[in-house]
Amino acid sequence: MTMHEATGVLVEKRRRVRWATLRDPLLYGGAASTYVAIGLFVTWFRLTWVVAFVWLLLWVWLLPAAVRRVAR
């Protein structure tokens, strides 16, 4: 492996570690802030746990899965 390739691998590894650390706070934070923003003005949205669970699943599971599929 050349020096250039080794640096590239290291950068990629660091990027993955950073994303793994930030992934949950970013996704859950995004889900929470949008849920509160919508819930403030749409009453039914904030009332039932079913909506909250679906919203959370959408943000932390389906959205990243869709992004991964598009990026492939």
Binding site: A52, F53, W61
Partner: protein, 241 residues
């Protein structure tokens, strides 16, 4: 009546009881929500295909007898646990449901109606700390709850739940939550770990988010006055047992 407390109590209890005692976390959450899941839709009223269903006396239906008030009792927790244990032989589920229902019934003694903890003895145990106002409708009820000591009660649970953050970690979920409950391997046949984790963290997400939303709605959008005095807010019409 407590609102967000019922979403967060299971996490705090899991932190305290999670060591040594096998309890199904899913059962704990279902137990904590159960008494209201069985009654609230008729207390506030529900529209189904154009028809409106509502209890003629919401207060008696929710907390009284005759009515469904027995769901808010310690006895109900024992009966549900006995039935679940007899039919499934699952100790973690029986325990989880019983403790969840107990937590719910005990939390609800904080309002001015209280709960019949020792049903069939129909005496209501009540602290009378915040006004019970379900008869005024869902939005007015929320406004009253989040203006009186109810918001203090929920705030305490929000702080305690956030302080329980180690149990929200992925490693804790893998090592402690999944092995103690057959629900997770069963659900895991269709869902990946990220989705299972979201289900596990769902109640705390819902609880904290709706606490923030209701507080902003009541005090920033609608300017309901705070009255954190015992039995308040006194601008709302409270029912007493």
């Amino acid at each position: 009546m407590s609102w967000v407390a019922h979403d967060l109590e299971p996490y705090v209890l899991q932190r305290k009881l999670g060591v040594g005692v096998a309890i199904s976390f899913v059962a704990l959450v279902l137990g904590s929500w159960g008494p209201d899941m069985l009654t609230k839709w008729l207390v506030y009223g529900t529209n189904v295909v154009g028809l409106h269903f509502q209890a003629s006396d919401p207060v008696r239906f929710h907390r009284g007898w005759p009515g469904a008030g027995f769901t808010h009792s310690l006895t109900f927790g024992v009966v549900v646990a006995a039935i679940v244990y007899a039919t499934t032989k699952s100790r973690p589920w029986a325990l989880g449901l019983m403790i969840g229902i107990w937590l719910h019934a005990l939390s609800d003694t904080g309002d001015t109606v209280g709960s019949m903890l020792f049903f069939p003895w129909t005496h209501h145990v009540t602290l009378g700390a915040w006004a019970y106002t379900v008869q005024s409708g869902r939005l007015s009820d929320a406004a009253a709850y989040y203006s009186g000591l109810g918001f203090v009660w929920d705030s305490i649970w929000v702080v305690l739940a956030i302080a329980s953050y180690p149990i929200l970690r992925r490693t804790y979920f893998r090592e402690r939550i999944q092995p103690s409950d057959r629900f997770w391997p069963w659900t895991g046949r269709w869902l990946p770990e990220d989705a299972l984790l979201a289900l596990y963290r769902g109640a705390i997400f819902f609880g904290i988010c709706r606490f923030v939303t209701w507080m902003l709605w009541a005090h920033v959008l609608h300017h309901y006055p705070f009255d954190p005095t015992w039995g308040g807010p006194h601008w709302a019409h409270a029912v007493h047992s």
